[in-house]
């Protein structure tokens, strides 16, 4: 199962990378969103899969699945949500100010 998950993660990362390398805002932001999916799965998988029960003490007597990656991912999900929200609004603001959603046209001024 772990190997299969790693394959999935690799595919997700590759797709995310391809999107991040694009020029339009939406594609790049989608890329970062997919990248965070991939990373969450990666953290979870590296901790080992299905090695024990749900980490709830009143539900089982163990052994439990590694709870630490789960705590990390929980944090990461929330943060990535915050970042996505911020970047989306930033994209909106940049589009409104500059009138383009193409990164290549935002390369700073030529006299810098």
């Amino acid at each position: 199962m772990e190997s299969l998950m790693m394959l999935l993660i690799g595919v997700l990362v590759a797709v995310a990378t391809y999107l991040v390398l694009s020029r339009t805002f939406i594609r790049v932001i989608l890329g970062t969103a997919i990248l965070s999916h991939a990373v969450h799965l990666l953290i979870l998988t590296m901790g080992g899969l299905k090695k024990g029960d749900v980490p709830l003490l009143n539900q089982s007597n163990g052994p439990y699945t590694d709870a630490l990656p789960q705590a990390l991912i929980l944090t990461a999900i929330v943060i990535s949500f915050a970042v996505t929200a911020f970047v989306l609004v930033l994209a909106y603001r940049v589009y409104k100010t500059n009138g383009t959603d193409d990164f290549d046209k935002l390369g700073g001024s030529s006299d810098e």
Binding site: L4, A67, F86, Y95
Partner: protein
């Protein structure tokens, strides 16, 4: 301890200057600042008797002991000379500046920089630790930069400041490398300890490279050929600064370093030739070029270059004694070093006076161009007196101190011919000849300085202001210096015994008796002494050449304008700027996707490259948990979804597909025993999708990107490489078992934190602080979102930058 405070004192006062400046607006700021060097000077003079007896004072304040970097101060004879010059000349220069700079100038900056410099310079000469010395060394460069650019509205000031900074800091970095090599050889940064571990050092492979790098630092700072080009340009600084930094103190830091390092490197042939030849060439080139200058300060700048060369050359010659080792005969060669230290002091006195004199002329008449000056003697008799005494001393005439040290210089060059080490039997003759020729030029420019400025006819129509004598305050400082010029001539041995003798002991620590190293200075060596006839010949030839100057002036045009050192330097800087600009512009093209390409390629090369190189990749599918068929379906669906995002045209479709991926991730959380994650993921994914859809209202339709096939291919290639790298790292990491898992600890959650849900206790209890910060991040993001939505361009602001 008190010496540490002495170094820090100027810095402290510099920090207080803004407050002093604002509280006492009536009085010239210089009067307050003057107290600093005067106090320090008096404080240092109290140490003279003990230092003269051969005592030294060392004190250590631990700073970074793990790296052997400690703030160790060391006061010995050599530091004493420099510290006295820094504070003594510093006092006179500040006194002079009070009358030179009007209150309209931004005095708070000027005195702040000046105090910064003073502290840094004291730090250089009083530090025993090489790293601390280096830090102060660079600080002197920085403060010199600030002071040269004091009138920063002038282009020449800025250019001069930049040039001096570039050259001295380049040398400084070379010196740092040299210090690090010394550390590699001896294991200590302390000069004292390096001196103790000298045995066998000469045979070390790093010995000569370290020596050359340290010398590079010294030569750039002390304006030795071919690095001297910054000094004439630095004359754009206000005259008090030129008198202080660029003739009396900072440029002598290089001499100090050479003197300090002589016991370490001095015995080596490379040292002897590098120092003495660099000095000799500089001596000649500086004096030769001084003659052609029309600007009085330019003339003094080249003259300073030349005199620094003289001192440097003497330091080199004196090192021969170290090669020979201690004996009754070798002591005679140490006199070159003695003459160097003696001339160092003499130069500071007469050159300081001359700079102040030129400053007075500039201040009262409005020009420094000798073609416009002349006949000022009648109007400015006191200034004229200063000029005559200073110039005569510079030219090496009695009864002034320059005569004594110049005679000693000749003696040293004549003696070095008798040696038969370092192939001196062949090249030894070079020294007295070049020395004599350079002295002739020195005589000529000293004559120009006096005659063209003060004698001849007045040209009032070519002057900016009607000439008149300077205020008394401006004359005090140069007259004190001139007093030393004469005083030292008549009582040289007082100076020799109290100041120079202990310094000799610092340069030759291995020689048993400092008293033996101190010759008796006398003005008269008998009618047959070759030095006397050399001086007489200088006067005769010099006067003849001065009279015929217009005839031989064309020799200065032999070197075409394009090939002077300055032009070469400018071209080098200009070219390196344009080339580096061009190289940078090729890859920093302002396109985000290119930058991502660099990052990704860098990541793949480093991470995957290391994996392949080290052979750490391992894959053991046998330890995997079994795959259920529904899991397989989920994974296939997710892969399919992910890939299809790449090929969708509409933005709604891609966002919904991303949602599918998100729910897929939530499902996998369920399968992999992470109910909390699954819940959170479901909520977050729904909100994110909604958020995307809302922003779409304000963003344009997704247009297909017009990119070439090759670009698409390279994008695909990089993406696959990145994905593969992650997969391989992940596969290897799963079976990594070198460390024990730490999660067992959290399974005691109920006992430790009173919670049944382990994940919750980690977030809310064990790592509660992290969670709090996470909330802060959320809060900041929320603020950002809010302000970006609400933000409106202010009225009058352009909507688009630039």
């Amino acid at each position: 301890m008190i010496i540490v405070l002495a170094i820090l004192f100027p810095f402290l006062i510099a920090a207080c200057i803004p407050f002093i400046y604002r509280s006492f607006t009536k009085l010239h700021l210089g009067w307050f600042v003057l107290a600093v060097p005067v106090t320090l000077f008096i404080f240092l003079t109290t140490y003279i008797p003990q230092i003269a007896k051969g005592q030294t004072f060392q004190h250590t304040v631990e700073w970074i002991p793990t790296f052997n970097i400690n703030f160790t101060t060391y006061l010995d004879g050599l530091s004493m000379i420099f510290a006295l010059l820094i504070t003594g000349v510093g006092s006179l220069v500040i006194l002079y500046s009070i009358f030179y700079l009007s209150k309209k100038e931004s005095l708070q900056h000027f005195y702040c920089y000046l105090l910064l410099f003073m502290g840094a310079m004291l730090g250089v000469v009083l530090s025993d630790n090489l790293m601390v010395l280096y830090a102060f060394w660079e600080l002197t460069s920085v403060s010199s930069f600030l002071l040269i650019a004091f009138w920063h509205h002038r282009k020449a000031s800025r250019a001069g400041a930049r040039k001096s900074m570039t050259i001295t800091v380049t040398g400084g970095i070379a010196m740092l490398a040299g210090f690090l090599m010394l550390y590699a050889m001896t294991g200590t940064f302390s000069v004292r300890e390096i001196l103790d571990s000298l045995g066998g050092l000469q045979d070390h492979a790093l010995f000569v490279p370290a020596m050359c790098l340290v010398l590079l630092g010294a030569f750039t700072k002390s304006a030795q050929f071919p690095f001297h080009i910054w000094l004439p340009d630095a004359m754009e600084a206000p005259t008090p600064v030129s008198a202080y930094l660029h003739s009396a103190t900072m440029v002598k830091a290089g001499i100090y370093l050479v003197a300090r390092m002589t016991p370490v490197f001095g015995g080596h042939e490379v040292w002897f030739w590098a120092v003495s030849l660099a000095g000799l060439i500089t001596l000649f080139w500086g004096s030769f070029n001084a003659v052609k200058q029309y600007d009085l300060k330019g003339l003094l700048a080249y003259s300073t270059v030349s005199q620094l060369g003289l001192i440097m050359c003497l330091m080199g010659l004196g090192a021969a004694a170290l090669h020979l080792g201690y004996s009754k005969e070798s002591v005679i060669y140490t006199q070159a070093t003695f003459a160097a230290l003696f001339h160092l002091i003499n130069h500071s006195t007469f050159k300081g006076a001359l700079f102040m004199m030129v400053g007075i002329v500039d201040h009262e008449v409005g020009t420094r161009d000798i073609r416009r000056l002349g006949g000022l003697m009648a109007m400015m008799p006191f200034t004229f007196t200063i000029a005559v005494i200073g110039s005569a001393s510079m030219a090496g005439l009695p009864p002034f101190n320059g005569f004594l040290s110049k005679e000693m210089f000749f003696t040293a060059t004549l003696r070095i011919m008798e040696l038969d080490i370092f192939s001196l039997e062949t090249f030894g003759l070079l020294f007295p000849i070049v020395a004599w020729v350079a002295s002739v030029f020195t005589f000529i420019y000293s004559t120009i300085l006096v005659v063209r400025t003060f004698l001849g006819k007045v040209k009032p129509e070519r002057l900016e202001k009607p000439p008149h004598e300077a205020p008394i305050g401006m004359l005090i400082s140069p007259f004190i210096l001139v007093g030393f010029v004469i005083g030292i001539f008549f009582f040289p041995n007082v100076l020799a015994k109290n100041i120079l003798q202990p310094a000799m002991a610092s340069v030759y620590p291995a020689f048993p008796s400092a008293a033996e190293l101190t010759p008796k200075i006398s003005a008269w060596h008998g009618i047959l002494a070759p030095e006397l006839w050399m001086t007489i010949a200088i006067i005769i030839v010099g006067l003849a050449l001065y009279k015929t100057l217009p005839k031989w002036r064309p020799i200065y045009r032999i070197i075409p304008e394009n090939y002077t050192l300055n032009a070469l330097y400018e071209r080098f800087i200009g070219m390196s700027e344009s080339y580096s600009g061009r190289i940078t512009n090729t890859y920093m093209n302002g396109k985000l996707s290119y930058y991502f390409f660099y990052i990704y390629i860098g990541f793949v090369t480093l991470a995957a490259g290391y994996f392949i190189w080290s052979g750490t990749f391992s894959w053991t599918p046998t330890t995997d948990s079994p795959i259920e068929y529904y899991e397989l379906i989920l994974v296939i669906v997710m892969i399919f979804t992910a890939v299809s995002i790449l090929f969708t045209k509409g933005r709604i479709t891609s966002v919904l597909l991303n949602g599918v991926l998100g729910y897929g991730v939530a499902l996998s959380f369920v399968i992999f025993r992470a109910p909390d994650l699954a819940l959170t993921q479901l909520v977050v994914e729904s909100v994110t999708t909604a958020l995307f859809l809302i922003t779409f209202k304000f963003l344009p339709e997704l247009k297909p990107e017009r990119t070439s096939g090759a670009a698409k291919f390279s994008k695909a290639l990089v993406s696959i490489a990145v994905g593969a790298t992650i997969t391989f790292i992940g596969l290897t990491a799963i079976n990594y078992d070198k460390f024990l898992a730490i999660s067992r600890y959290f399974e005691d959650a109920y006992e430790l934190a009173g919670g049944q849900n382990i994940v919750n206790t980690i977030l809310g209890d064990f790592r509660a602080f992290d969670t709090m910060l996470e909330v802060v991040v959320l809060f900041i993001a929320g603020l950002g979102v809010y302000s970006l939505i609400k933000l409106k361009a202010k009225k009058g602001d352009a909507d688009v930058e630039n």
